[in-house]
């Protein structure tokens, strides 16, 4: 017979207004094992875990911990029952030491010294027992992202957690750091810790978990032993139809150089070097992928290439126009040069949440015909344009008058991409093409990018998803700390070497 599960959920329901986010979910998390929960964005994974962690209250259903029915009204209840959560975004005080962060909220008395000494002893014990070594006196700001995540895990263990929930833990890690994380999780498992891993990356599910639940539209649609399934099956279960994970594309036929950067640099007003002597060439008919851990200058590179920020050094040539510190450009001019830009953060940059979809569909092109004639916006023409974009890029629902914020992430992204591609650009810059986008839409977006490459467009893709870079790019450029640390043709790239370059080692 089966042992009592660490966590048992039965018939969990949760609605937000008219949105039924979780519909009657029942699942059991085995003690001392790693259980994965996969699903697309909006499938209800995070809502479900927030219920377990006491952030939301379920409308119906029961939570049992070690067989005992429990009520989780807030995270304190969850912590008291040994549940700990490691969030995607770290909750650490940068200027505090590891030890100080550890005792935050559990100081153990009005004077810090006693608490700190006790914490130091406990930290040493945890480090020994779980193999989680961190210098207790190091400042958080001086630690790498992987080490910071280790501190987050320690924080949770320090509070006595026996059940660990990790929400998209690899989002900010290099492949090497991810492997390290999985080794830590394996050690924790050996010591009897129960682990729940929430992710949308199938590779990680296959690598780390013992058992996996698949969620779709607020329901559990399948549970599998990891050893008895494969990524193709999981993808199909997540999306509800067959998905091709491999992207078919012909060899690139690269032509003339359309964009080139020479010693391009950007120094901000505090004197921080954000971009450091970037040399880059973009040719017609090729896709260049920029790989790197988020925050290593990719955002700034896109800003400079698209004319949003002026470079402070070096020069940039876009289809013959030379841009440098003294001859800056702007996004409007870049558009006239045939450069289109799908920004990294569609909500903050690529669209206006409060605008109708038809208004979003002309952002940046509002002053040009056919949208503007005789100084007036041609409403019907813009409406027809938006409807055409929606048809061609399968944006759902097909409602030009709907507010932009009411579309799902994937459909917003398709709308922004459609807008930029409709201009038939010569150079296309794409930041995080599939962030927060479901698998079905990823497939579509990738195919469209390859299609526009085949029509002779020079495409630059910036992504923190290494898989995406590997499957899309013809040439891969790696960035670290504002510099380019390596360039490899896609055929000769593998995750290990790219990972080393992403961590700053020159190839």
């Amino acid at each position: 017979m089966m042992a009592v599960p660490a966590i048992e959920l039965s018939g969990i329901q949760k609605s937000f207004g008219s949105v039924h986010a979780v519909r009657g979910v029942s699942l059991a998390i085995a003690k001392g094992a790693i259980t994965g929960i996969v699903g697309e964005n909006g499938a209800g994974k995070s809502t479900l875990m927030s219920i377990l962690y006491g952030l939301y209250r379920a409308d119906a259903g029961e939570v049992r911990i070690d067989g005992q029915p429990m009520r989780m009204d807030n995270p304190h209840d969850a912590i008291a029952h040994g549940i700990g959560m490691v969030h995607q975004h770290f909750m650490l005080v940068d200027t505090f030491t590891v030890l100080e962060n550890l005792v935050l909220g559990a100081e153990g008395g009005p004077l810090l010294a006693g608490g700190l000494a006790a914490a130091r002893a406990e930290l040493e014990r945890l480090a020994r027992e779980y193999g989680l070594s961190v210098n207790p006196d190091a400042k958080i700001a001086d630690l790498s992202v992987g080490e910071q995540q280790r501190v987050e895990i320690l924080k949770v263990l320090f509070r006595g957690a026996k059940i660990l929930i990790l929400d998209e833990p690899s989002a900010v890690l290099t492949p090497q750091e991810t492997d390290q994380l999985f080794r830590i999780l394996a050690t924790l498992k050996e010591r009897g810790v129960t682990i729940v891993l929430i992710t949308h990356k199938l590779r990680e599910i296959m690598a780390a978990t013992d058992h996996v639940y698949v969620m779709r539209q607020g329901q559990i649609v399948a549970d599998r032993r990891t050893a008895e399934t494969n990524p193709e099956e999981l993808a199909e279960l997540m999306v509800g139809r067959k998905v091709r994970l491999q992207l078919d594309k012909a060899a690139p036929k690269s032509g003339e150089v359309l964009l080139s950067a020479e010693k391009l640099s950007l120094v901000d007003h505090r004197g921080v070097r954000l971009l450091d002597n970037i040399d880059l060439e973009l040719r017609a008919g090729e896709i260049v992928g920029i790989a790197g851990v988020s925050g290593n200058g990719q955002t700034e590179l896109l800003q400079v290439l698209s004319g949003i920020r002026r470079p402070t050094g070096g020069k940039l040539t876009v289809r013959g126009r030379v841009i440098d510190a003294h001859h800056p450009s702007d996004p409007a001019e870049m558009r006239t040069l045939g450069l289109a830009h799908v920004p990294e953060d569609r909500l903050r940059q690529g669209m206006v949440a409060a605008f109708h979809a038809w208004e979003t569909s002309i952002l940046g092109y509002q002053a040009q015909p056919p949208f503007c004639r005789n100084y007036l916006l041609d409403g019907p023409a813009v409406g027809r344009h938006c409807a055409t974009l929606m048809d061609r890029f399968d944006v759902r629902p097909r409602a030009p008058a709907l507010r932009s914020s009411n579309f799902s992430g994937g459909n917003q992204q398709k709308l922004v991409l459609a807008r930029e591609m409709a201009q038939e650009p010569k150079v296309l810059l794409v930041g995080q093409p599939t962030r927060g986008v479901d698998i079905g839409a990823i497939e579509f977006i990738h195919r469209e990018l390859v299609k526009s490459r085949d029509q002779g467009c020079a495409v630059l893709v910036v992504s923190v998803e290494l898989d995406e870079i590997l499957s899309l790019a013809d040439r891969i450029v790696v960035m670290f700390a504002g510099r380019i640390t390596g360039e490899v043709p896609a055929g000769r790239a593998d995750e290990r070497t790219l990972g080393l370059m992403m961590a700053g080692a020159h190839a």
Binding site: S15, S18, A353, F355, L376
Partner: protein, 365 residues
Amino acid sequence: MNGRRPLPAWAEIAVLPLVNIALAFITVGIIVRIIGVDPLHALQFLVVGAIGSSESIGYTLYYTTNFIFTGLAVAVAFHAGLFNIGGEGQAYIGGLGCGLAILAFDRYLPAPLMIPLAILAAALFGAAWAAVPAWLQAWRGSHIVITTIMFNFLAAALMVYLMVNVLIAPGSMTPQSRNFAASGKLPSMHDTLAAIGIQVAPSALNLSIVLAVLCCIGVWVFLWHTPWGYALRTMGHNPEAAVYGGTNLRHMTMLAMCISGGLAGFVGVNELMGVHQRIVLDFPAGYGFAGIAVALMGRSHPVGIVLAALLFGALQQGGAELAFEIPTITREMVVVIQGLIILFSGALVNMPRPWLQRLFTLRGS
């Protein structure tokens, strides 16, 4: 969250403001009761005073004209994400521009040339007065709320100086300019209507109200049907998206504030060219500030602003009558009433929203 739905658009536009006004009037009623006046009696004087005769309607519309100008001024800046508190000063300086143009040319130009020139001067001066804080924000990072407030004081001080030392009519004891010549007078509404055979009682209402209606249409077309209005609204909602879309935020800040200041400047047209017939002190009389409440209540949309301006105009006119008819209700009491309306429809505008949402959710399920 909490299972509450957002209000349907029609309720947002129509029901919410009405609930706010009703709450304000109930509060006013309680206060009026406390000072010993029958609230219904007072309300009757207020309503009759505002719309009881063609003369009172004329005055209500004359006040409404000012509120439309300043309400539109605040709204245009607001759509750009800018809080223009300087309508008062911009109206004042707009009036100065209007007056200077007339004093300079009224003896040489006929009315058909003089009037457009004076209107243009009002807009240019108002815009210029708004352009300075705009420039300070766009290039030097000084917050526009602070600078526009300070520019109200500067405008007031400048006008006192000019009126006492420079523009005062020779031999006059009061600080006001010489009278405008006939070509510098904007025809009154009763004269204009009489010319086409409609008789109405004389009032301060003049053709400025036509200008106000044209401004409403102009603002509506500009904001929602031109690429510049589109870019302006983009900046207001999401400056980063505006930059991405190729808008220069500095230039757009200047444009938005100049349009805003120009609209506020038209108060000078209504007051000086339409009524006083000379430059006087203190003619903006709080219209610039009330414009904030008008824009807030009118949801920064021209149609809403017209409705809100009508309410404020009626209160201004009806309130004056009320103070005249019931001695216990003083001029200050009328200001309290206006203040409460502004409080409920401005600062407390979102207070009844959860109640209404609950009501609509119940009804819907």
